[in-house]
Every structure is written in structure tokens, then in C-alpha cells.
Amino acid sequence: MILPMKKARLLGLACDRDRIFAELMRLGCVEIRDRAALADGPEYAALAERAVTDTDDIKSATRDLKQALDTLIRYVHPKRNMFAQRPVLSEKELLNAQALQNARDAAAEILGHRREIAALNSEEGRLQNRSAALRPWIELSAPLNVSSTAHCVISLGVCPASAKIDELAALMEEQVPLSVLFRAGSDREQHYLMVICHVSAETEMNALLKSYGFSRMQFKDVGATAAEAVAACEMRMGEIEIKRGEIEKAICSHAGELPMLERAIDALGLYMSRAEAAGNALSTQSCFYLTAWVDETRLQSVERVFSRYDCAYDFSSPEPESDAPPIKLKNSKFIEPFNMVTDMYSPPDYFNVDPNPLFSLFFALFFGIMYADLGYGLVLTAIGLFVTLKLKARGMFGQMCRLLIIVGASSAVMGLVFGGFFSDAVNVIGSTFFGRDSWGIPPMWFDPLTDPLTLLIACLAIGTVQLIFGMAVQGWLLIRDGKPWDAVMDIGSWWLLFAGIGVLALGGAPWVMYAGFAAIVLTQGRRSKNIFGKLFGGVGKLYDITAYLSDVLSYCRLMALCMAGAVIGSVFNMLAGMLGGANIIIGPILFAVVFLVGHTFNMAINIIGTYVHAARLQYLEFFGKFYEGGGKPFKPLTIKTNFVDIIKEEN
């Protein structure tokens, strides 16, 4: 059911504000409404504009802590136990100011280390580039910044690899007598050269070099030979390596502070949501005003908190026209997991109805028909039970696991009805290993593969039942909202028509059906102003019969998915049987491998499709009859933590 909500208004003293918010947060059943919702009056406009709380500080501190935590995790690689329970703290312990300060100090230190490492890394990159640039010159024994003398011109430079250096040397000897050419080395792209010549021959020399594509290079900042410079680079890189190791060790020494950082992040998160909620109140120097939605079942505890402070407050019920209260659904343990299905569509409108109790049985049944297999169903239930009991899954994940148990059980039952156990595994095992062709689980009703038509008719019949039920819900909603005549005319006339078609199909007289047609034509145009509008509206409405028809036919997907799963499963059994029968020793092993892989795959692809189609039948066919979504989920001010659990303190 949809939990009833009350609208609360509170006018309090500014000095009590933080304490009141802290207490409301502990209760976890009050949603502070957005300040935009209450600032429509002109007298509030001035207040609404002023920033009430400064969250920048909390945000930047949280960012630092998260960065520090990431860094720590990157270097320490803590072993996480998936099954570990989260540590349990009291709120006071979590919000301990000293612990928070310690965590922030530790984070600052870790981030300092992180910056040092970043600086070292970029220096290392520079050194790598430099040594790569100098390495080709390593054979040259002269310092690289060697400069020309009074009589000699000395130049360093490169020629493209295609240039013939031997030819150049020969030409130099011929044309420029006072010159020497040293080749420091060559690689795939270039030759690395040093050329010395007498000042008098510089022009000839340059002309010759130019024709060989020589380009000069200068190493002003290298005061040594290339070999020495490269060695220096390498030494510095070695130092960096050691330094970095030391810093990493320093970071790792913070490993013990990891839980402290996590706690601090949670504590700041708590302050943050408190500050954000406070931001939704209107404040002046001395007082604050807020409106909120309160879970009506917890009204007394909220009132107890308010009454402890000097403040004015009142509670009122929401109005259907002007209010849109948030939605919180409360259901029994069996129905609760289906909330997930509704949430994926849209929570109900507050003044509509909680659909979960209405469709949960249908959903389980549809899932069972489509997944129908005793083996698959038992596996799903086992997985759901294991995760629920062993890992104590909570929240959304826990709901999913409980849903798995329910739909698994339903699939197992339907598997018995249709005689499927890992499709036809019993039969294949019997004929492969024991030479018996007659083995198998006899279906309690019939085998869909041999009699698909019966299955189709059964599925359409179930669909018709759900559609009629959906219309009944709509009728009930109309009666509840004080419109019994609308219920009779909109639902009753269609039911009369359906009954008429049923009577005709069973061989009765067509009069009931004619009465149904007449009822629809006479009532469905009643909202039009003039007589022609009324008549044409009623006749036009007859076309809706095609919508009902396509709604019913849509349920044939139950048959399709039911048979597809069984067919694919039986192909895997067949493949496994072929391999298994081939050899007496490795045969059974191959059988087991193909069987396991095949059926795991089939289960995995089918579970997605089955869930989607079971949900779709609710969303389009069933919800289409009565449901109004668009509700906003109830988001009470509450303690949200990621790393620890808070124990409730009585107050």
C-alpha cells in the first residue's frame, strides 16, 4: 500500500536549526521540501535568494579525502572481502571532530606524497627524452657544446639516412683539403656527424654539406660528452626510482588509516546532506521556516522532536488538486520484492493505488510459464537463497535476490507442469548412457513442444483473466473516488460485450453481445455536448475492441518464450549426448562440460528476456487499464553511509 503522508510546516529559531535537522535525520522519515516550493509568496522572495549554508568547504574536503583514498588503494591494494560486514558505529563516533581532523591531516599528507610522485614522474619523462636525444652521439669523444676556435669551424649535425657519407668524405678530401669528418653513428633515419674545417674553407664546406642535406644541431646546455651526459641522466633516473620507492613506502605506511579515511568521507557526507537540507529551509538572522512531508505512521516521533524546541508547527493532509506527496510503498515480505518492477516503470501517483499486491502473483506466474523448467527454477531459487542468507544482501540487491527465490520457485512448479528438467536432460542421459529411450519426467499437464496450440490458448486465457482483473481494479478506483456510474458505464458495458462474445462462442444466442454493443454506443459518447458527438463518440469507442484484441494476443509471448527456452536447452542436450555417446571414458566428461556451459548460457540469456517480457505485460497491458504513475519516490532526510553502518541510539 501507499504510505499516507502529512504535510508539516515548522517555524523555528535559527539557533536550534542544526540540532533539529540532526534529530530529523536520525528519525529518517521526513522529507524536507525544496525551497522553491514555498517561496511563491512575495514576502519570501528576498529570503529565498540568500544562500543559507556554505557547502564549498565540505565539498572540497570530501574531494581531498576521496582522492587520498583512491591513491591509498592504488598503492596498498587492500584485500577486500566481498562477504565482509561493514563496521558498525554510533553517530557520535562517526562525527568525532578529532577523528575527522586526523583523517584530513592524513589525507593532506597522502596527497602531498602524490604530488611529489607526479613531479618525479614528469622529471623522469624529461630525462628519458633527453637521453634518447643524446644516445646517437654516444661514440663522439668531444663534448657536445664544443665551439669553434680562431682557426677551426666545428659543427655538429645530421644528414638524412639516404645521404652517402662515404661519398661525402671522399668529396671533402678532394674539394676542401683542410677538413675532417667524424661519424658519431647512424640509425634508420639519420647519420650523426661532426665536421671540422679551416676558417678559410668554410664557404666551400657549407656548400658541400648543404648538397648532402646536412642540418646543424646545437647542444649548448650539455657541458660534457654525450656518453657522460647520458650516464648522468641514467644516474638521476636511478635516484628518482629510489626516491619514488621511498615515497610509495611512505604512502603505504598510511595503510592502517584507510578505515579512518572511509569514516571521514561518510561523516562529511552526513554533514553535506544536513547542510543541503538546511539549504531548503528559508532562514533569517533569527529564525527559519520549512515545509516537509512526514510519514504519517511516524508522526508521533516527529511531533515529539518538534515539541522539545521552541517552535511553531502544524500538520495537514495533502489535497488531491494542489499537492503531489512523495511515494513510499509498504508491503509484506512476499510482495515487497516486486517494488523493483514498479520502480522501473514509475512509482504510482499518490492518489492512485499501489500496484504491487495486484500484479505480483501474475508476474510470478508469467515468469514461471516463460522460464518453465524444474532444473532452472531450482538453480535460481538456490542462488537467491544463498545470496540472501549467506551474504545478507540488503536494499535493492536484497529485493532482487528475494524476487529470484519467488520466480525460481514458480519456474520450478511450471517445469513440473510441462515436464522439463534442464529441458529433456533425463531422456538424453537415459538414451546416451543407459540405452533407455523411455526415460523422462512426465508432464503433469502436457508437453508444450508436442501441443503448442493448447499452450497458446492457455496463455491467452490467462491474459484475458489479467485484463479483466485490471478493468475491475479501474472500476474499484472509480467507485472509491465516488464515481460509481462511471464504473458501471465504462467497465460494465465492456464486460457485457465480453460476456456476449463468450456466450456466442459457447453456442448461445447473440443477444447479449448486441446488448453490449448497444451499451457501449449509448454510454461512451456521454461527455460530448451535442447528440451527434454523443453518437459518434460511442460508435468510435467500438474501435477499442481492436485494442483489447491486441492486448490479449500480446500474451502469446508467454508461449513463445516458454517453448524457445525448452528448444534451445534440448539442442544443448542433444550436442552433449552426441559427444557423450562417442566414447566410454571421456564421453561423460565431454557431456558434463557441454551440458554445464550450454545450460548456463541458456539460463543467462533467458532470464533477461523472461524478466523483461514478464514486466512488459504488466507495464503495457495491465497498467494500461488503471494505473497512473508519475509519483516521486520518498527521499527522507536520512543517514546515508557508504563504508560504515550506524547503530540507532535511542533518544
Binding site: 522501473m344 513442444l449 503448442p452 509471448r557 513463445a560 518464450l561 517453448m563 524457445a564 528448444v567 534451445i568 539442442v571 542433444m574 550436442l575 552426441m578 540469456i605 533477461i608 528476456g609 523483461v612 517480457h613 514486466a615 512488459r616
Partner: protein
């Protein structure tokens, strides 16, 4: 023209059906999975932690290939190919096998590609709103339904031949 009647025997037509069912549906799935893979590796480069979600989306268009394969295997079993002596079919019988294979061959081929496109779009959902991922999966699975219908009709036809 004698070669024509030699090539178009009932058995060859039946095997052509098997080839189309496995081949076309397989091509479709390969394309569909490929489209999602391309979109997914872009996201993976940005955020490697999303690998599991990308994987789930990527395998969705892979099922049509499996459906085609299932139909092909069933046809081969009916034709007793695995026992070593394939049954001899008349031209009409062979043509009926071919027709029976066509639904999954055609629908499997094209629906896998459409499904791949939807799933590739859903990669964008993982990027921007990972919590809404299941809705992306739902949209992709909607396309699958028609391949399932084709699979069923092909299966029922082959089993009735």
C-alpha cells in the same frame, strides 16, 4: 540443363535452408555484436570499470546466431545427417525444409543488426546514467521478441516435416 536437376535436388534445397538459417542469422549476430563492441570499446577506454556492463550489452544481439544454429541442428537431426545416411527427399520435401528455415534466417539476420544498434545506443546510457542501464537492456530485448517468434515458427515447421 541436366545439371540443374542434379543440383536442385530435395536434399540440396534442405541443406540450403540449413545454410541460410545458420549463415544469415550468424551474419546478423556478428554484425550486431560488432556494432555494440565498437561503441563499447570507446566507453571502455574512458572507464575500464564498466567492462561488465558493456559485456552484457554486447552479448544481447548474439542470440539470433544461436537461434539460427538451433534450427539448423534440428533440421540436420530430422534429415538424419549425423547418422551418416541422410534421408532422400523429393524436390517438394526439400523445398519445404528451405521454407521452414527462412523465418529465422531472415528475421535473425535483420533483427540482430537492429538490436545491435539499440544496444550500442544503450552504451550511452551506461556512460551518462549507469543506474539506468537495465532500461537500455529492456529496450534491446524488445527487439529480440521477433527473433523468438521466428525461431518458434521455424522449429514447429521443421518438427512437423
Amino acid at each position: 540443363m541436366e545439371w540443374l536437376s542434379q543440383v536442385f535436388t530435395g536434399n540440396v534445397l534442405a541443406l540450403l535452408g540449413v545454410a541460410l538459417a545458420v549463415g544469415l542469422a550468424g551474419i546478423g549476430s556478428a554484425k550486431g555484436v560488432g556494432i555494440v563492441g565498437e561503441a563499447g570499446s570507446g566507453l571502455h577506454a574512458e572507464d575500464p570499470s564498466k567492462f561488465a556492463q558493456i559485456m552484457i550489452l554486447q552479448v544481447i544481439p548474439g542470440t539470433q546466431g544461436l537461434y539460427g544454429f538451433v534450427v539448423g541442428i534440428f533440421a540436420l537431426v530430422q534429415l538424419q545427417v549425423f547418422t551418416g545416411n541422410m534421408v532422400t527427399l523429393t524436390f517438394q520435401e526439400g523445398a519445404m525444409y528451405l521454407m521452414a528455415c527462412l523465418p529465422i534466417a531472415l528475421v535473425g539476420w535483420l533483427s540482430a543488426i537492429s538490436q545491435g544498434r539499440v544496444a550500442a545506443g544503450a552504451i550511452g546510457i551506461i556512460t551518462k546514467r549507469p543506474e539506468e542501464m537495465f532500461k537500455g537492456i529492456m529496450m534491446a530485448v524488445m527487439v529480440e521478441f521477433y527473433a523468438i517468434l521466428a525461431l518458434l515458427v521455424s522449429m514447429l515447421l521443421i518438427l512437423s516435416l
